[in-house]
Symmetry: C2
Subunit: 154 residues, 2 copies
Amino acid sequence: MTKPTEDPLALERQVCFALVVAARSVLSIYRPLLEPMGLTHPQYLVMLALWADAPLSVGEIGTMLQLDSPTLSPLLKRLESAGFIIRRRSDVDERQVIVELTPQGRDLREQALRIPPAVVARLGMSIPDLEALRESLTQVIAASRRADASEPTS
Amino acid sequence: MTKPTEDPLALERQVCFALVVAARSVLSIYRPLLEPMGLTHPQYLVMLALWADAPLSVGEIGTMLQLDSPTLSPLLKRLESAGFIIRRRSDVDERQVIVELTPQGRDLREQALRIPPAVVARLGMSIPDLEALRESLTQVIAASRRADASEPTS
DNA sequence: CATTTTTAAGTAGCATACAATTAAATCGTA
DNA sequence: TACGATTTAATTGTATGCTACTTAAAAATG
């Protein structure tokens, strides 16, 4: 029974504040689980994309993860020096860089299978609650994308 | 009617992926609105905390925003050189640094009042939907904090 | 009262994100 | 076919976040 504030700038009313803190909080649960695998969370997301559908171009990974080349390029370099992926220029279109899994990168999937259940266990939230949250977040993502699309280009 | 995948590592099933992308997407809506004020989103959050309850120590801001001193220190320096805040050592406890608003920082609140409605407008989501989302996120934050608290300390 | 422990900020180093720019390859079209 | 426009990555520079460590001050303890 918290008294509702009328202040529109109250921290506890800001959806984006809740969003940012929730993301950071959940990431802090992933971190110790991913660390033994030698992956950060963004790197883990790239690996998820590759396990689902390798090989992928940098651009395709960017579309799937909503990340740009300035973020992906150094990240992919680190994944390559870790031995999980290989990057090569496409023969068909030399502008594109194709990202492929190494056997080592493929093998990592085995360990990754333990991550989602471990996260759910540590969170202690019900699967339906998490499902509902994911649906809700997907709506926000769609809404944001619409907003971006209609933004006036200078 | 998307066919549900049985793959537990499918990107579209990862709550944390949705969380991270949603946060980034909504931030991209704030960015052009905050830029004319000369604020980034984390800086905006610090200002919200100060508008609500200045003066605050660095530690108090960290508690409210769930941020540590390594993040806050440089951020506060930038807010200070922008002329929005002043930092001074506490007289009572010289370990603490007290953050105070400048008149300029106080005045900025006027412009900030336009931010929340502008974000809601651009998102195009209903207030009840946003409220429900915020509630849901607050649950996740609480769950994460419990998980962190119970984490075995090495 | 002296020493140890704890606490509050800050610094150093690393890994994202993002805006702006660059470089190279491809495409479209005259 | 030549050439300007577009596309794909990468690079540069700035601002978070986080881990590990440092410094200084306050608190606790013998």
